[in-house]
Every structure is written in C-alpha cells, then in structure tokens.
Amino acid sequence: MSAQSAFAQALLDPALPCPDGLSTWNGSDPAIRFAVYRNNVMVSLMDALADTYPVVQAFVGEDFFRAMARVFAQANAPRSAVMAFYGRDFADFIDTFAPAASVPYLADVARLEMARVLAYHAADVPALDAQALQIALADPHRLAWAWLALHPSAQVITSPFAVLSIWAAHQGESEPSTFDPDSAQTVLVFRNDLAVDMQVLADGAAQFVRALQHGQTLLAAAAQAADLDATFDLTHTLALLLRWQLVTHVTTGDLRHEHTH
C-alpha cells in the first residue's frame, strides 16, 4: 500500500491509527496533528451536506444532522472535486438510516433539496416562445411526429407525502396545520431564468413530462398521461410548460422545419 493510500484510509476511518512516517519538530505525538486533517475532511463534507440539505437539517436539528452526515460521509467520500453535487445519494441513505425513521418524509425532502441544487446549476438553454411552438405544431401531419425537449433543469419528484408543502412550511411560506403531510404530492423542480421554482403536478401532467423526458413523441406522451389521469388536459399542460419557460426545442417529423428558440 502506498503512503498516500495509508494516509487516505486513515483520514476517512477514525478507527485506524495515524499513518506511519509522520514527524514533528518537538517530538510530540503526530496523531494530534494528523487529527487536524481528519477533522478538516469530515467537517468539510458535513458542511457540504448541510449546504445542500438545509430543510433536512431544520427537521432533525443540527446535532442529529451532523451525526447522520458523518455516518454518511465516512461511507461515501466524494467521487469528484466538484462538490456542488456531493451527497446525491443522501436521500437513499436516509431511507436506510434507522435513527431517522421517525420522520418518514425526511428522505423525500432530501430528494427535493438535491433536485433544487441540480436545477440551480443545470445548463442554460433558452426557452421556445409560444408562437414558435404554435407554428411548429400547426400542421397536424407534423404534430403527429413532434418531440418536445424540456429544459435540463426539469425534474419530477414523486412522494407519498406532501413533500413540497412540508418543504415550504420550513420557509415560512405556509402553516404546517393547513395541509395533510400524508397526502401524496408530485413536484416539478426546475429553474426559470435564475431562480429555482417548484410546482405541484397532477398525475397526468407528471406522466406527460416524464414521457417527454424519455424521448416519447408529444402525442405518445399525451396518450400515456390521459391513460393514467382522465383529467389530463394537453393544452393546459403545454400552456403551463411554456409559462414556466420549460419547452426549449420542438422537432417535428419534417426536419426541414425544426424550430428552436
């Protein structure tokens, strides 16, 4: 094992002794000094998780959060120097973290918070305006083979809990008493210009968005949405997606008439 391997393993595992070969000017035990590195690494990872998951932390309190984050970080060191997205699996970890089981919606709140970070940093793609979409879809022959591309920030988060209402209650946006936390919510998380936005979607609209994101044609996506949700309204849903600046591209069967922003 290389010296850096031993150093790295001891950094992440406090049960391991300080690595060999360290020296100090005064002959003092290098373990105390090595502990500075160990602490730097662990505190930086816990801080990164706290930055991404402020509402999760608000739910469980700072002490609990940091203890939970430490357990996660010790088993899940970053795999990239880009720390913005560190802890993408934190929600899955929370699902299995027994001490957090008393807050059943905690993992879904974490999923929402990571989706917000992903949306915040997602690529910049200009939105298509409504007129361009109308022109592209005016010909029914072309409509039959139309694909819509959605903004890369768009993500659908499905929860058996009122996850957006729970999140909003921790922003002072609504009183916890005004909603039932056990009513399911499906949330569209996206960035509109520079701000992350979140909107509750009906089941049909959520299916429509997911189908478009999986490369289904507009009509196939609409059919799937209508199968799932009899109240699905294609015109209304398209109007919402346009208003939220989420439609970035339309491709019709006739590639000579491809429309972009």
């Binding site: 360290l22 940093h121 690529a123």
Partner: protein, 307 residues
C-alpha cells in the same frame, strides 16, 4: 533519474496577462449581487475553479458579469498535483474549458494532493519532500501547463505534519519545482506563517529562500489556534478570521523584498458582510502603496499601483 529534457519552458505560450498589483478578494455567492450593484474599486476577484465546473445557472451568470468588469484569478483546489497517481484528464479538460471561457489573468493550484483513486478527499494534504515527489510534481505541472497552454502559479502549503523521509526543506523544494517547470509562485504568506509556527521555522528566512522573482500573487488569510500533544502552538489555516497582525507584518516584510504584487484576501468560513471584506482590502492596498513609496524615488517600475 530526473529527465533532463523536462525543463518545462513552455515555448508555445505567449506572454500571459497578469493580475493588477493591487488587493483582490475571494468572490462569494452571498456578496456577488452587492458587488455587481455597487461596483467597488477592487483590484481583482478570485474564485475556486471547481465551484464553476457546473453546467450553467446563476454562478456562471454572475461570474460572466464580474469578469466583464474585473480582473479574475482562477484558483484550483482539486487537481491534486501531488498525487502519486496520474492526473485526472477529465478534470484537466474541464479546467481547460473553464479557463478558455473566462480568460482569467491567473490560474493557480496547490503543492498538495487531494485525490486517492476515485476518492476526492476535499482537503489539501501534505507531501514528503523527496526526489521522487519532486519528479512527480514537476511531471504533473509540466502536463498541466502544456494541457492548459498557460503558466501555473503553485501555492506553498500550510501543513500540520512533516515526513521523516523528507530530504528537502520546503522552500528549497519549491524553488527547484519553479526552476524546473517554469511555473510561478503563489506565495501564501499566511501559509508560510502557519507552517513556520507549526514546524518551528524562521518565517522570514523561509520567505527569503523562496523564488521571489517568480511570485505572481500573494494570499493572505486568517488562522485558528490549537495546541499539539506537547502543548505547543499549532496554527490551523482556517480562512475563517481576519488576517492576523503577525501575518500583516510578514506581508510587509515580503513586499519589501518583492515590491508590490497582486494580493488576495481569502475568506472561506465565517464570511462577513461585503463591506467588512472590502475594508480589509484597504489594509492590503495601504501596504502595497507603502511598498511602492521608497521605490518610486529610484525606479518607475511600480506605476500601476501608485495612481
């Protein structure tokens, strides 16, 4: 054992732009709107490159606007130049795209390692100063400078331990890296002070022993205090406090040797309101003016800061 052709002279690289010899500040997301609104007279801003290796969104929106008005220093914290494994080419490619996009006046990295295999350890870890380390660090810097097509400034580290196998002292090691690779030095005066206390070195002697003619930027920051196992003072490079008086004094000593040099106030923790950081740059600007004064009697070399 050392490759004699490995002199790193960067023949294809045109004369690089440089940072103004003024005080700059680390750009923080919580300050950016106020800075864009008030357009303060700051010499330059510095960002951590890895924070901007994201596809889009507000970080790029704001940095584009900052770059339109100010000089920029890109400071890498994840390249792991001291790693005993090959550099991460995907990371190097991402840095290249970022530097091409923003055209910063300076790109810097650390004499440290931070990755191991697929793991990123998110800290700047210490190196033994041996011939093997020297070869590896020089090879990696050559690779970085060739790949990026520009000169790198290498930052001296703050460390808490030394290695029994080291055969070079730190300043001599850095001097040799600079000589062999043609890279510049990002002289972190706080790091010199912290390491000097932690390893019982003479900080002024360390400064004198570094390749001062190659300094492209200075860093100043605050430290925290602990004790080691013998109760001796152990300083932590926390970036979480104002610059200590001892570091200001060492900075003034350094400027007396180097003349004015672009100087960054680093603050990454306990980040104060923008006006507090801006006021701290005033102290650095005063020291830079002081460094000019005696020189202007005999030399016209420091016109940029005397205005």
């Amino acid at each position: 054992m050392l490759n004699p052709t490995n002199t790193g002279k960067l023949p294809q690289v045109a004369a690089a732009p440089t940072l103004p010899k003024r005080a700059g500040v680390g750009l923080k997301p919580e300050h950016v709107q106020e800075i864009l609104d008030t357009q303060p007279d700051v010499g330059f801003f510095e960002v951590h490159a890895e924070n901007y290796l994201v596809p889009g969104g507000p970080f790029h929106h704001h940095l584009t606007r900052i770059r339109a008005r100010y000089a920029l220093s890109m400071h890498g914290v994840g390249l792991s130049i001291g790693s005993d494994a090959p550099l991460d080419l995907a990371h190097l490619n991402a840095l290249k795209l970022l530097l091409d996009r923003y055209q910063p006046q300076s790109f810097s990295e650390h004499l440290a390692w931070s990755t191991h295999g697929p793991t990123f350890l998110n800290d700047l870890l210490p190196l033994p100063y041996t011939n093997a380390t020297l070869q590896r660090v020089c090879d990696h810097i050559d690779q970085v400078q060739t790949h990026l097509g520009r000169r790198l400034l290498l930052e001296n580290p703050a460390t808490y331990v030394e290695f029994a196998v080291s055969t070079w002292d730190e300043a001599a090691f850095i001097t040799e890296v600079v000589r062999r690779t043609g890279c510049g030095l990002l002289l972190d005066v706080n790091n010199v002070y912290v390491s000097s206390v932690n390893h019982q070195r003479d900080a002024q002697a360390v400064i004198r022993a570094l390749p001062l003619a190659q300094v492209g930027e200075v860093h100043l920051a605050g430290f925290a205090q602990q004790q080691d196992a013998h109760g001796d003072l152990l300083l932590i490079d926390s970036h979480g406090a104002p610059v200590a008086q001892a570091v200001w004094d060492l900075y003034a000593f350094t400027l007396g040797l180097t003349g004015p040099v672009a100087t960054l106030l680093e603050r990454d923790n306990n980040i104060p309101a923008w006006p507090v950081l801006l006021a701290e740059t005033g102290l650095a600007e005063a020291a830079l003016r002081q460094a000019c004064l005696p020189q202007t009697q005999t030399s016209s070399g420091f016109d940029e800061v005397s205005a």
